[in-house]
Symmetry: C2
Subunit: 459 residues, 2 copies
C-alpha cells in the first residue's frame, strides 16, 4: 500500500488488523509527512521521533491489536499534558514547562493503543483563531500557505489534513476546533460541555473550554470520541452520563429528521460561496429524506458576544499574575484581549452569564422543535495571513461557533465544498445537549452522500 | 373544632373534605391571627381581607374540593408577583410597584385551590437574614419578640409559626428559607436549583436564587412542593425533570440509609446547645436504623465564602442603576453590601465561579458515598434584634446554608429541639441533586419519631 498517511483511521485499523500494513510503516508514513512539511506549515511545536512514539505505546495495548486505536498515529494540541514532554500552550511563559502526568484524555488514547506523534501548534494561550504564533512559528494553511489555517488548534487541523497524523485532539472555547477544521477541510467536533474531561488541559475558560477530536471522516471522529468520552470524577466539568455507541448510531436512518437551516441577517453577512455551499448541503439533506426549514437565528449574535466577554475575562483571571508581572511576554493581540478581559466591568460579566442561561433555555426549546441546526462553521473561507488584525479576525470567525460554547451544545464541522479559489468550506451541524450520536449520524450520512472528505491538499 | 390556625395543611384538607370545617372558618382563623399579631410581629407587608382572599380563589378550583390545596390559606413572600398587588421586595424603590401577572408558582398555587392571605415581610431586597426592614417594619421572632425571626423570608416563617397561614412560599439565595425556618421553629425547604421556576420572583442572584415552601410539617412541605415543582419552559433556570410523588416517598423505609454527620472546626464553632441537639438528632436516626458516620466538612467554608461573593456581586448587577442613582434609598446594610458587590474584582468573581464547579463536583462524589449530610441549619439560635450588625450576622448565620445554594443541592430545615431559653433549633438535611424525595422522606421519619413540630409559640 502507498500513501499510508492518507488512510482514514478506520481503514488503517483494518489494514493493521489484516496485516496489510505494519504499525511501523504507518507511523513512518506520518513521520515522513512531518519531516517533509512541518518546516513549511509549523504544525508541531514538539515532535516525537517514530521510534520513541512506537515505544511509548502503552505496553498493555501494544500486545493487543484489538484495541480501539491500536497503532494509530495521533497528534495532540500543545495545551494537553503528556508526561515528560513540555506543554507550552503556545506561550513564552511555558517554553520549559515539563508535564508530570498525562492529561486524562491523553491517558485514554494511550490505553486505546494510539501512537502519539507530538504536540501541535496553537494560537498563543488558545486565545485567537489565526494560528499566527509569535513564539513557535506561524501555522499555515495546507491548501494555500499564504493563508491562516484557523485556530487556536491550528497544528492539529494541519496535521490531519496533511497526514502528519490520522487524527488529533484540540480544544475549543469559541470555535478553536471547528474553525481550523473548516479552514483546513477536515472534520472537527466539539462535544457537549461535560462530555469529555478537561483535566490536564491548560484552561482558557473554565466555563467554555471543550476538548474534542479532529479526523478526516465522521466515522473516525466517532472512533476517537468513543475512547475519550469517559466520565472523570476528578474534573469539575465532567458530567456523569452514559456514553452511547457512537459507531453503531452512524447507521441510523436520517429520513424525516427535522433540520433548521440558519438564515437571517446574522448568517447572511457571510461570503456568497459559503452560503451557496451550505444551501447545497441543505439540498443534500432534503434528498436524503430530511425535512429542512429555514429559521432566522439572528438571536445567536448575542450569544457570540457573551461568549467573547466571558472568554476574555476568564482568560484574564487564569493569566492574571503573568499579565501583571510580564505583560511584554505576551503577543500584542493576546495582551490586548487579556487587558480587555481584565477591565471588563463585573456587571457585563454577570449579564453575559445571564445571557448564557437564557440562550441555553432558548436552544433547549429550539431543539424540541428541530433535531438539528445547520449553518456555516465560518462566514468566510481562510483569509490571508497578512493584512488582518488578529483580534478582529477572532470576532469575525467565531460568530457562528461561539454560541455553542456558551450553550455547551455538541457541534460538528465537516467539509461541504470548495470556493472557486480552491479553499475548503465547512458545514456546522448542531444538535441538542448530549446528542453527539445524532450529530455524528447526520454528518456521516452527508459525508457518504457527498464524499467531500476525499479531497486532500496536495503539497 | 377550635384553633383551626394550628392545623397542619394535611389535617385541614381532611377536615374540609369531610366537612368538619368550612374554608371560610379556616381562612378566618388565620385572618384572626394576622389581625391579632401582625402589628407586633410585622409578618405581612400587604394583607388581603378574608373575603377578597376567598373570592380570589381560582374559580375552576373553587368548585372542586378535590384540588391538592383546596381552601388552604397560604402566605407569599413579597418578592413574588401576584397580579394586581404591589411587589415591594422590601424596598422603598418598589413601594408602589403593582404586578401585572402572577409569578409562575403563585399561579400554580391558585390553580391548586389555595387561598392567598397576603405578601410577607422580607429583609430588604432579600439581601440579609435579620428581617429588620427599615421601610416596612422590623419582623420579630414569635418565640421571643426581642429576637430576629431570621430572613430574608422572615414574614413567611412567622406566618407559618403563628398560624397566620398554614404554609408559605419563600426564596433562598444563601439560606433565606432555611434560616427563618430554623429560628422560628418551622419546616423550610430549598429544592434543587432548577426544580422550581423563578419566573415572576424578583431576582437577587440569577445563579443562586431558589424558591421553596414553609410549613409546620414535612408532609405539608411535600404537598406544596408537588404543586410548585413543575417545569417552566419560560424560566431560564427551570430544568425539565420528572417530578416524583413526594407524598408517596414519605413512607419509604429509611433503615440502612448512610448519613454523614457534619463535624470539624467549621461546624464546631457553633453554640453548644445547637451541637447537642444535632447530635441527638443523629442518635434518633441511628435508632431508626440509619448508619451515621462523622465526616469533617470544613471544606464547605470555602463554598460559603464563594456564595457570599457571588450573591453580593449578582445583587449589585441587578440593582446597579438604583445603587448609582439613589443609594440613599437603600438601608445602610444593603448599601454596604451592594457597594462591596459592585467593587468585587472580576477575578474574585470568576474564582468564586470556579469554586462553585469544584464544590458541586466534590459534593457529587460525597453523595456517592453518603445518602445524606446532616448539620445545624444555623450555628446559633435566634440572636437579639439589638446589638448586632446586620452584615456580620448574615456572614455568621448563612455559613451552613450557603454552600447548598452554591451547589444547588436540596436542603431541608426542620425543628430538632429547643434551647434552655426556649428558642427553636433547626436541623438541616442535605441530599444529592434531584433527591428531594429522599430528603423529605428522612425528615418525615425524624418528625414522626420526635414530634418537635407540635411545639408552637404561644403569643
Amino acid at each position: 500500500m502507498d500513501n499510508l498517511h492518507t488512510l482514514t483511521i478506520s481503514d488503517a485499523l483494518e489494514a493493521i488488523r489484516t496485516k496489510k500494513i505494519s504499525v511501523r510503516d504507518l507511523v513512518e508514513a506520518c513521520s515522513g509527512q512531518i519531516e517533509r512539511l512541518n518546516s513549511k506549515l509549523n504544525a508541531f511545536i514538539t515532535m516525537i521521533p517514530s521510534d520513541d512514539a512506537i515505544k511509548a505505546q502503552s505496553p498493555e495495548s501494544n500486545a493487543s491489536s484489538s484495541k480501539t486505536l491500536h497503532g494509530i498515529p495521533l497528534a495532540i494540541k500543545d495545551l494537553f499534558d503528556m508526561a515528560g514532554l513540555r506543554t507550552t500552550i503556545g506561550s513564552k511563559f511555558f517554553a520549559d514547562h515539563i508535564a508530570k502526568d498525562d492529561a486524562f484524555v491523553v491517558e485514554k488514547l494511550k490505553q486505546a493503543g494510539a501512537i502519539l506523534m507530538g504536540k501541535t501548534n496553537t494560537h498563543e494561550i488558545a486565545l485567537g483563531i489565526t494560528g499566527n504564533n509569535p513564539h513557535y512559528g506561524t501555522a499555515r494553511n495546507p491548501w494555500d500557505t499564504t493563508r491562516i489555517p484557523g485556530g487556536s488548534s491550528s497544528g492539529s487541523a494541519i496535521a490531519v489534513a496533511t497526514g502528519m497524523a490520522l487524527g488529533a485532539l484540540g480544544s475549543d472555547t469559541g470555535g478553536s476546533i471547528r474553525i481550523p477544521a473548516s479552514l483546513c477541510g477536515v472534520v472537527g467536533f466539539k462535544p457537549t460541555f461535560g462530555r469529555v474531561s478537561l483535566r490536564g488541559v491548560f484552561p482558557l475558560s473554565w466555563n467554555l473550554d471543550h476538548v474534542g477530536p479532529f479526523a478526516k471522516t465522521v466515522r473516525d471522529i466517532a472512533l476517537m470520541l468513543q475512547v475519550i468520552a469517559v466520565h472523570d470524577p476528578l474534573d469539575p466539568a465532567s458530567v456523569k452520563m452514559l456514553t452511547g455507541d457512537y459507531l453503531l448510531h452512524l447507521k441510523d436512518d436520517v429520513r424525516a429528521r427535522k433540520i433548521a437551516l440558519g438564515v437571517g441577517d446574522f448568517i447572511e453577512t457571510s461570503d456568497a460561496e459559503v452560503l451557496e455551499a451550505v444551501r447545497e448541503a441543505a439540498n443534500v439533506f432534503q434528498s436524503l429524506g430530511c425535512k429542512v426549514e429555514e429559521v432566522d437565528v439572528s438571536w445567536l449574535q448575542e450569544a457570540a458576544l457573551a461568549n467573547k466577554i466571558m472568554t476574555q475575562s476568564d482568560g484574564a483571571a487564569v493569566h492574571r499574575d503573568r499579565l501583571k508581572e510580564h505583560p511584554e511576554m505576551f503577543g500584542d493581540d493576546i495582551r490586548r484581549r487579556l487587558d480587555d478581559g481584565a477591565n471588563t466591568p463585573l456587571t457585563d460579566y454577570i449579564l453575559a452569564r445571564r445571557t448564557q442561561a437564557e440562550v441555553r433555555k432558548r436552544l433547549e426549546g429550539f431543539f424540541e422543535t428541530y433535531d438539528f441546526l445547520i449553518l456555516p462553521t465560518t462566514p468566510i473561507p481562510a483569509p490571508t495571513i497578512e493584512g488582518h488584525d488578529a483580534v478582529e479576525q477572532a470576532g469575525r470567525l467565531t460568530r457562528f461557533t461561539a454560541p455553542f460554547n456558551l450553550s455547551g451544545l455538541p457541534a460538528l464541522s465537516l467539509p461541504c465544498g470548495f470556493t472557486r479559489e480552491g479553499l475548503p468550506i465547512g458545514l456546522q451541524i448542531v444538535s441538542r445537549a448530549w446528542g453527539e450520536s445524532k450529530a455524528l449520524n447526520l454528518g456521516h450520512a452527508f459525508e457518504q452522500a457527498t464524499e467531500w472528505y476525499k479531497h486532500l491538499p496536495v503539497l
